[in-house]
Amino acid sequence: MAFRFRQKFKRSSAVWTAAALLAISACSGGEESETAAISEDAVKVGILQSLTGTMAISEITVKNATELAIEQINDNGGVLGREIVAVVEDGASEPATFAQKAQKLIEDEEVATVFGGWTSASRKAMLPVFERTQNLLWYPVQFEGNECSPNIMYSGAQPNQQILPALGWAEEEGYESYFLVGSDYVFPRTANLILKKHLEDRGLELAGEAYVPLGGTDFSGVISRIRSADPDIIFNTLNGDSNVAFFKQMQAAGMPPSELPVMSFSIGEQEAQAMGTELVEGSYATWNYFQSMPDEANQSFVGAYQEAYGEDAAITDPMVHGYLNVYAWKAAVEKAGSFDPAEVREAARDLGGIPTPMGEVNFAPNGSLVQTAYVGKLGSDGQFEIVSDSGTPIDPQPYDPLAFPDQSCEV
């Protein structure tokens, strides 16, 4: 047995480390922004997405689409005659980092507005920063609603623009028994809460509900339960890699999408192609945009994106929302005649139609986008064939009246 005490530290060690620290902090503290936020010929905006971590793969595409829009606008003379300068920051798939970087963009970089966020967690973490600084965030992803901050423009679908139209379609198709599978986080749980209320209201059957931890890949228990429950259709709010494991294990258990239909809310073109279309072919998804949409505006957007980021690049709904957010901001700035966030967000609330790859859209007074929902069926080429749509654009409802009767949006 060798019993040795380590020597206790002399004070000197503390001093040296402290000196090293001071040197480091002095260096990084000195990073002052060189250009003023709104100079004579440029305006700074922030792009805040996860460039690392689990969400990076999805969020980088939104960052790309946002940058594409900025580039196009700059090529056509900028906004109010000024060039847009984008400051990109990494949210690192971590809510606290999003909040920290949002503060950095607004207070240190003094950006006029910020485009970014993907997960609800990141948006929730950034919200107080935007409210405190009275800046404006443009959020591009469908989400669970239950929020309407005056300092956020929500262009992604509210539950009544994605989940409920999907339920409407399934009901029309004659599906009566529903099994809800989701990753264990806010969107699936809230979406399913709303779905359950509507199932009950419409006299449809809830066959079961199961959650796996985010990133979880073991579905053995869930699949046993699905088999016991024997539903007509599965409503799937799983996220990311869990989807591959789920579809794979469903197939191995003899229940591929062709036998037991699956309606997914987090599988877009990119995810489907990365997973391998063989697994998910024949499954359904509901979005406000599909790459296969035939309009000319969409074709030219897809062309421009693929020219910039690769011919095979898949285009998804959140990317288009990220892209249109920049154009909406531009339109609002021009309408307000100012870059001031308070005036811009006033102006943004009724722009009277902005042309986008998904057609003309408009922001409702509650700060969310009025948009049409489409149901697509995934083909073997990794593209969705649109099988149904909501017909007219749907007004956004942040609070579902059935699930949250006492809530309303006051902006």
Partner: protein
């Protein structure tokens, strides 16, 4: 609760236990021998998975899967040998430091995988006979899971043969029992460490192949199985293959049966609780080899 669900979960428990066991065996072997835990062990699973993916690009179909098994074994073993030689050997007798250093390796390997293969998982396409399922009344057994159990039994058998019947096994047992004495009789304990470590990481690579039959291969695939594997090692007792096997079965079945009552997240919580209660009863693990060696 209906009987079919219960039976299905029993089978699932065994299949999950097989994965835990494949992931934990290497950890347990090197822990018994060197008292170190390799935090990058999960990344050996990941490496095995990606090697299977690459092998199947090169040789598709059933021969590909069969070829992937030795390829992943050798690839992961080689990576393990590299880690052992460059890092673990230098940190001999500093088990806690080894934990931290190998965690660093794990971070680097994960990021490297992300840079090489992308953050989205790649899919290893199993041949059709592995995508089927067998049905016995209400019990449905996916053949992929059956295959995994089979592979695990083969690995266990081979390992038992290796340890009990071969000269390598003899030297391993000797070093396991008394490192100093084994050294005195001319056994190169350093070499035994290397071989066992490489063998252990090789088995993890193999586990990566069978995991790829169930889900995507992602840069973080190892992380989702490594914590249960650690729990198996804790429960199993010092370096005992039998103890590790029993512990894996206990944990696999516990987790599968818990899932019939609560959801997956709560089952994870219960699993830890189960292990903490277990060590109250048997702190030395399922199987304990009492030896005269001085502790510490």
């Amino acid at each position: 609760m209906d009987a079919a669900l219960l039976l299905n979960q029993l089978f699932n428990g065994i299949s999950v236990a097989s994965i835990y066991l494949l992931a934990a065996l290497g950890l347990a072997l090197s822990f018994g021998l060197m008292r170190v835990i390799n935090m990058a062990h999960g990344e050996m699973l990941m490496l095995g998975g990606y090697l299977a993916y690459l092998t199947l690009i090169w040789v598709p179909g059933a021969p590909g899967i069969l070829l992937a098994i030795p390829v992943a074994f050798v690839g992961a073993a080689a990576m393990g040998a590299l880690i052992q030689l460059s890092l673990i050997r230098r940190l001999m007798n500093r088990p806690l430091d080894t934990l931290l250093a190998t965690w660093g390796v794990s971070l680097i390997l994960q990021q490297a995988a992300r840079d090489i293969f992308g953050a989205i998982g790649v899919e290893v396409r199993a041949p059709d006979w592995l995508n089927d399922s067998l049905q016995f009344g209400a019990v449905v057994i996916p053949s992929a899971r059956l295959f995994i159990i089979l592979v695990t039994i083969l690995v266990l058998g081979a390992l038992a043969l290796l340890i009990r019947r071969t000269r390598i096994g003899l030297t391993v047992r000797a070093v396991n029992q008394d490192r100093m004495m084994a050294g005195a009789t001319g056994i190169d304990a350093g070499r035994v460490d290397l071989v066992v470590f490489a063998l252990g990481t090789g088995i993890a690579g193999l586990a990566g192949v069978v995991l790829a039959l169930l889900g995507p291969v992602t840069p973080s695939v190892g992380q989702s199985y490594i914590v249960p594997a650690f729990l198996v090692v804790i429960m199993g007792g010092l370096g005992s293959v039998l103890g590790t096997t029993v512990a894996a079965l206990l944990l696999g079945l516990f987790s599968a049966l818990a899932q019939t009552v609560v959801d997956v997240s709560a089952a994870q919580m219960l699993l830890l609780l189960f292990v903490i209660i277990f060590i109250q009863v048997r702190p030395q693990g399922v199987i304990s080899i009492r030896s005269r060696a001085l502790d510490e």
